[in-house]
Amino acid sequence: MTSMILVFCELKDGQIRKPSLEALSEGRRLADAAGKQLGALFAGASCSGSAEAAKYGADVILTAEGPALTSYSSDVFAAVLADAVKSKGATVLLAAATAVGKDVAPRAAARLGAGYASDVTGLSMVDGKLQAVRPVYAGKAFATTSFASGVQVATTRPNVFPAAEKAAAGTTETLAVPASDFKSVVKEILAKASGKVDLSEANVIVSGGRGMKDGANFKILEELADALGGVVGASRAAVDAGWGLPHSMQVGQTGKVVSPTLYIACGISGAIQHIAGMSGSKFIVAINKDPEAPIFKLADYGIVGDLFEVVPELTKAAKTMGIGTN
């Protein structure tokens, strides 16, 4: 049996989530490099939509379906993942570093007695073993991680690995659902009203800091984000200022770590705490009145000026140029 690289994929409304497609594509690349098979693993009450994995290179699509998997449970899902690894003789288990991925993958790793690398930004196969590169110390360093265990588990940071279509056989197999006493289970999801993508998956982020002066002023950032097809974030200073901004908006070491293609920092000085959360952005734009603000050292493009003048001009220009209609 050719050993397998297994990727746990999440479905949402019958579609494979984008971070999972990215993990799957990276799995395909590793499988090709190491001469292994790629398996896509799904679990839930229904796995309809899983066939899509064949387009992204899955040789085998494994589904664990049943009422026991209607609600997400870390212990039951960890058992599904670990059982699949064992039954397929997989040596690598990948998942996206999402809320679910970061909850279940380390638990599955412990169940398998395997090493785990979280939120990785680079993967390679060296002498048949997985090697992971991941940011540590708030992005101030990168650690190359190697595994001591036979099975190797890692989660991939969203927005870092490109999702690439590559057709494969996509043979389907059904897995047995483990019996479980549900040590903990998700009872309810309290989603925010906005249907916008989460910061951790956003391609464009317009973020505001202390220079925004008030929470109500974030409206101009919303307008720019809408024009560019992005979402709005905030620095810790802005969230802690008592302007009524929720912690879920916070980008930084004690908030969200983001990796968008474009990050526009408005009125953000660039404290280490904030840089920790956004230094993985592909392009950084800084708009700040203070030419000495540390954020300019990081920015690809800097605008020294009043954000209350510049941001509306950007919105206007984006609309006239027909940008960001994606």
């Binding site: 870390s74 992005g139 101030k140 903990s184 990081l298």
Partner: protein, 249 residues
């Protein structure tokens, strides 16, 4: 009710990272060590449960003598007892989880609290690994916790919102910013902590799951470009550059 709070000592956020001569670890010179901020939310939650419904709070940390600072601070804040598990607390999350599980297994803890990740290593793995090794439930990245009779109800952060996780105690809960507002140690607490002793226990040997084979600083970002002109001109120039040079759009 008996609560275990697992605390990690980490380099301060502002620490300038230098790579040691071995090329795979942090140069400890000039590093200021602190309790991982997420662990402070975990400890605060334990103390609040103690104040609210009564509980015995045991603070635990894995490491060498330097880690006693973390434990002294926990005692000053209100932990009843402190345990130094002598072993490598800076290494692999799987190894640390095994050491803590081996210690905690037969101690009758109803609840285990820790940060959702240790600042620095950022693996976010120790909590769920500990839960699995102990065969108990978990809720990660928790911003609200309610305890019932042998049960818990936790609200945890997910993409675009939160979700409610329910389960039986004992369980591992990992704390996120927003769970509470950690207090500062009072003079009275600091004085009382001086009288308390830290129990030292040799950690059970653990297997390593993963290790760092190289540590490197990120490549410098090339110098950026300042855009000229008034606001309208800067806006125009920026979008043009993002379109033509960066090809963002």
């Amino acid at each position: 009710m008996k609560i275990l709070v697992a605390l990690k000592q980490v380099p301060d956020t502002e620490t300038k990272i230098k790579v040691a001569a071995d090329g795979r670890s942090l140069d400890p010179a000039d590093v200021k060590w602190i309790t991982s901020p997420y662990d402070e939310y975990a400890l605060e939650e334990a103390i609040r449960i103690k104040e609210g419904k009564g509980a015995e709070v045991v603070a635990l940390s894995v490491g060498g003598d330097s880690v006693k600072e973390v434990l002294k601070n926990a005692l000053a804040l209100g932990a009843d007892t402190a345990v130094l598990l002598k072993g490598d607390g800076q290494g692999d999350a799987f190894a640390v989880a095994q050491m803590i599980a081996a210690y905690a297994k037969d101690k009758g803890f109803d609840l285990i609290l820790c940060g959702n990740k240790g600042l620095g290593g950022d693996n976010a793995a120790m909590g769920p690994m500990l839960a699995e090794l102990m065969g108990i439930g978990q809720a990660n990245v928790v911003v609200k916790l309610e305890l019932g009779e042998g049960t818990f109800k936790a609200e945890r952060e997910i993409e675009g919102g939160t979700e409610i996780v329910e389960g039986a105690l004992p369980a591992v809960i990992t704390a996120q910013k927003g769970l509470n507002e950690p207090r500062y140690a009072s003079l009275k607490g600091i004085m009382a902590a001086k009288k308390k002793t830290i129990e030292e226990v040799e950690a059970t040997p653990a297997t390593t799951g993963a290790q760092i084979s190289a540590l490197a600083l990120p490549p410098e970002r090339p110098a950026g470009r300042k855009l000229e002109g008034d606001a309208a001109a800067q806006a125009q120039a920026l979008l043009q550059a993002l379109k033509d040079e960066a090809k963002v759009f």
